[in-house]
Symmetry: C2
Subunit: 332 residues, 2 copies
């Protein structure tokens, strides 16, 4: 490599050209790093479990039902549909890039993806199963038993292993390669003028105070309705349900804005159907600023540059149940 | 190629070795031919539509929900779950190799896959949408409009094109490569003694009268309960609902036995949970023969050799809705 008085800068550019996710621009948002897979067999097992509806009482609902990897890792519904067509209390957050979040769920009640993965399985309004029953099902399926043995060194299926494997798969669900990341990495042509103006406005008007870091969010809890109260029919009270503190009422985890073009509708109650509406509400309620239609258009143009390469993999095949496998109970 | 007095036979063996699906054994069952894709863009469009829950009123149910390609093209439920958790009247047949069937649905009310594909979309107990609303949704999604234009030469989405594309994808869902097909193609080691004994029994005791051809079924309608009446709580009357003829009561399309290991539970009412039970019931009710436990084990061993290579493809990504896209209505 040729070195001169600007040797360091040249080295950085060379690294970028070689496909690194390193940023050459110093911005409050950083590029998404590609996933580093250290245990591919565990990821494969987790992928199968993520797609397996036998983790639900009905045999009909899998992790992928509400975190659909064909649809930005979300279900694109205001709130999700659970067992027996139960209407969920909250909008399903995307699973994409969720490994970067400070905690899991809108109220942060799970500290990481492993802890999160056990929640919906046992939630009566979601998959409506129990951890014990889910383990019994998996233990009865020879194909799974062989995989658990290969990954964990023992044929004994345990819920800790189930959630560990699902989390390992979810950690691979990152979306590098967005236009914005290319711009961060030094490609001046990656954003057009309108998108760049949108980013400048996003940054200068204060959105980055909460929507920052590689996930453009997910790193803090903030009050929904800081300047003006948020009007909603949703009963969700956010962080207060975890901490028991009154000052945490309506504190929610700041959602990632990565792939936000794909993860409509928006907010914890899924009330905003479009990005334009979401930007308008955020400006007024969180920043006390009424964006013009043109400004909203610019910010939305910027937000759409945050769509990265979606996870790409072969649809997993699930090992068949055996004669001993407890059968699903969709109708009570 | 070396030719001698047995030149023709050598040529056949060489073709087999090169991966042809041609049979060298003259049996009532023929090998599955690999899919011939003539229009890959149409197949890709159909694949996306097959996975898209926006073809349902709720935005939650796709073709893949009940014909899950991770699970042998079935949902492994006794009867399916439809809109608003409606309990379906009949077991969802596998979509795998369904292009070979004489007609679609258990009662044959659709003449082909294209006609079939429109059914569940508009069925109030399944996807609960209408063809017009489904077309409106797709027409509002720029990514789909571009694909329809590329495939059909016009940006106008029509239900005929939707079902045509889905059918084109479904036609690719064939499963060559099973152990039994390898045996048909001349590989003597593809089946063990027990599996071969099971096939001999399957053939000699009359199962092949109905379960024949490449799909090992699907080519005729037969009365469920020929020798002894079939006892069921299911109200399904089969072919009579289509023809209006009393003699067609309880006449159902003979299901394919390809991948039957994966498509439990069995029969139109999903009443048989295991292959052993299904073989026992079929023997008694259709053939008037009580198979011994050993015989059932042999036939089941043969049936498991009918599991072929499952369709393998990248999970499709769905184009996002636009601001104009009508939103799903999961809860009325």
């Amino acid at each position: 490599m040729k070195l001169n008085s600007t040797g360091i800068a040249l080295a950085v550019v060379a690294t970028v050209a070689a496909g690194s996710a390193w940023a050459v621009r110093d911005e409050p948002i950083q590029p998404i790093q590609p996933a580093k897979v250290t245990n591919p067999a565990k990821v494969e097992l987790g992928k199968r479990l993520f797609f397996d509806p036998r983790l639900s009482r009905s045999g009909f609902i899998s992790c992928n039902s509400c975190h659909n990897l064909s649809m930005g890792g979300s279900d694109n519904l205001q709130t999700s549909i659970g067992h027996n067509w139960t209407k969920g209390p909250i909008n399903a957050p995307t699973v994409l890039n969720s490994s970067m979040a400070v905690a899991q769920f809108w109220d942060g009640r799970a500290k990481d993806l492993k802890e999160q993965a056990g929640g919906p399985i046992a939630n009566p309004g979601e998959m409506a199963f129990t951890h014990d029953l889910a383990v019994d099902v998996l233990q009865s399926i020879p194909g799974y038993v062989a995989e658990f043995k290969a990954v964990y060194g023992s044929s004994r299926v345990e819920i800790d292993k189930v959630t560990d494997a699902i989390a390992a798969f979810e950690e691979t669900l990152v979306t590098p390669g967005s236009a914005f990341d290319k711009w961060l990495q030094g490609d001046d042509k990656a954003l057009n003028k309108r998108e760049l103006a949108g980013y400048k406005l996003f940054k200068d008007s204060g959105c980055v105070a909460c929507h920052n870091g590689p996930a453009v969010g997910g790193s803090s809890f903030q009050k929904m309705g800081l300047v003006e109260p948020y009007v909603t029919k949703s009963g969700a009270e956010g962080r207060a349900g975890v901490t028991g503190k009154d000052e945490d009422r309506f504190n929610f985890k700041v959602p990632t804005l990565r792939n936000v073009e794909l993860t409509y509708p928006y907010f914890h109650d899924g009330q905003a159907q479009t990005l334009e509406e979401a930007v308008d509400v955020m400006g007024r309620l969180q920043l006390g600023r009424k964006y013009s239609k043109e400004e909203i258009g610019q910010i939305v143009a910027f937000l759409k540059t945050l769509t990265g390469d979606q996870p790409s993999f072969i649809l997993p095949l699930l090992p068949p149940s055996s004669n001993e496998t407890p059968r699903p109970v969709p109708f009570d």
